[in-house]
Amino acid sequence: MSADAQARWQAAASSLGERSAYKRVWDLQARDPDVASLSVAGHTDEATLELTARGFIDTLRSLVGVGPDDVVLEIGCGIARVGRPLSAECLHWFGADISAGMLGHAAARLRDRPNTTLVELATVGLQEFPRDAFDLVYCTVVFMHLFEWDRYRYVEESFRVLRPGGRCYFDNFTLDSAHGWNVFMEGARYPLERRPAHLSMSSSREELGVYLRKAGFADVRVVDLPNELIAATGRKPD
C-alpha cells in the first residue's frame, strides 16, 4: 500500500456529518482506483484482493453454502473484490452498490465474467430487485460504514428479495476483539470536526441477531470468525 494512495484516501474523506450521504461519500472515494480499493478492502494490490476474497468465500461456503445453481446478490459489492472469484462458483452473481464510481471499477474487473450483473442502488435498500429472486444474499465489510437503521434496512430488504429457503450472511467487527478495539481507537483519535464519513463503526452480536430475527429469518446464528469479525446468518422460511 503506497503512502501516496493513503494520502489521497485521506484527502477524499468527507466529514462525519455526511455519513448518511452514502452515494456522495463513496463516489468521492471511488474517483481514484487505488483509493477505491483502499477504502473498500484496505489494500490495493490484486493478489491480496484475490487472497482475501478467497478467504471470505471459504467462510461463506462453510456458514451458508455456495452452490453452482445459486443466484447470488452482494450488497455493497464495491470493486467486486468478492464477486470476481465468486462468480466462478455460482449460476449468476449480482453486485449492488450505491456508488456508481465503485461500480465503474467493478465493471472493469468483471469484463471477462459474463454471469455477473452490476446494479447501482438509488438509495439505501434493494428496491431495484424483485421479491423471491435470490438463493443467497450477503453483505461483507459494509455494515461498519452504515448507520444502524440502514443496516437493518438492508437486512429486511434481503428477506424480501430472497426466495423461500434462501440464505443470508452479514458481518461486522466487534469492540471486544483486538482489531475491533484498534479500529475504535483510531476513530476516537480523530479531532471532532475531522471525523470522516466512512469511519468504521462496530456491531454487537446481539444487534446482528436481533436484526435477522426481527426481519423474519429462521435458523439465525451469530458466529465469531477467525479474522475477528462476527457474522450473522439466517434462512428465509419456506
Binding site: 481514484d32 449480482f94 465503474g104 471499477h105 469484463r111 431495484e128 424483485p130 429472486a133 426466495r163
Partner: protein
C-alpha cells in the same frame, strides 16, 4: 457380518438428475426475472433519462472539442501565412524597385495570393501515432497559473505507455499515468499493453503565447509527441 452395499436404484438416480435439472432451470428463470425487472425499472426511471442526457452531452462536448481543435489549427495556419506574407512584403517595400516599378508591385500581389506555406512543425520530440482523447481540452484561453490536462492515450503500435509529460516551450512537467478508464476500454475493447490508459498532467501556464506539447514514452523507446498546439495564457481575472 455386514450387509453388501446396495446398487443405487436407477429410477432414484434418474429422478435425482431430473430434480437437479429442474432446480437449474428454476434458478435460471429467477436470474432472468431479475434482469427483466432491472430492465423495466431502468427504462422507467428518471435515472435512465439522466443517463441518456449525459451520453448526449458527452457526445456534444466531444464534438465541440473537435471543432475547437480545428479552429485552433486554422488560426495557427493563418498566423503562419500572415507572418510569411508580411516578411515578403517588407522585403519588397524596402527595395528600390518597389518605388520605381509598378510591375514588381503586381508581382508582390501575385506572391501574396500564393498558397500559404505549411505551419512549421513543433520543435522538440518526434511525433508518434496515438489513439487519444483529452477530457480537459487544451484548446482554450488559459487563465490562472496552472492547468491539469486529463485524458487517455495509447500508441497504435501496441506498446505500453511508461510515462507521460507536458512540455511548455520545452519545459517538461511529469504526469501520472495508469488511471482506469472503464468506459474507454468498454468502447475500444481490451488494451493488453495499456489496460489503464488514463493520465493526468499539471503544468504551469505563465501569461503569454507558448507551445504546449503532450508527450508519452512507450516501453523501450524515446519520448513521442501525442499532440502539440499553441496556447495563449492570460493573467487570472481579479
Amino acid at each position: 457380518m455386514s450387509a453388501a452395499p446396495q446398487e443405487p436404484d436407477p429410477r432414484v438416480a434418474a429422478l435425482e438428475a431430473e430434480l437437479a435439472a429442474v432446480r437449474r432451470r428454476e434458478a435460471e428463470f429467477r436470474a432472468k426475472m431479475v434482469h427483466e425487472f432491472l430492465d423495466r425499472g431502468e427504462r422507467n426511471t428518471y435515472l435512465h433519462v439522466l443517463r441518456e442526457e449525459r451520453a448526449a452531452l458527452i457526445k456534444r462536448q466531444q464534438e465541440s472539442f473537435a471543432d475547437l481543435e480545428e479552429l485552433t489549427r486554422k488560426l495557427e495556419a493563418e498566423g503562419s501565412r500572415a507572418a510569411a506574407l508580411e516578411a515578403e512584403l517588407a522585403g519588397v517595400r524596402a527595395s528600390w524597385a518597389w518605388r520605381l516599378s509598378a510591375p514588381l508591385r503586381a508581382l508582390g500581389r501575385a506572391l501574396a495570393r500564393r498558397a500559404p506555406p505549411p505551419p512549421p512543425a513543433p520543435a522538440g520530440v518526434a511525433g508518434g501515432v496515438f489513439t487519444y482523447y483529452l477530457h480537459t481540452s487544451p484548446f482554450r484561453i488559459y487563465r490562472g497559473g496552472r492547468f491539469t490536462l486529463r485524458g487517455w492515450a495509447w500508441p497504435q503500435d501496441g506498446r505500453a505507455v511508461t510515462a507521460v509529460r507536458a512540455c511548455v516551450d520545452g519545459r517538461a512537467f511529469d504526469g501520472r499515468h495508469g488511471i482506469e478508464e472503464p468506459e474507454v476500454i468498454a468502447r475500444y475493447g481490451p488494451q493488453p499493453a495499456n489496460p489503464r490508459p488514463g493520465f493526468e498532467i499539471t503544468f504551469e501556464t505563465p501569461p503569454g503565447r507558448h507551445l504546449l506539447s503532450l508527450e508519452a514514452r512507450a516501453e523501450g523507446g524515446p519520448w513521442l509527441r501525442i499532440m502539440a498546439t499553441t496556447i495563449w495564457c492570460e493573467p487570472e481575472r481579479t
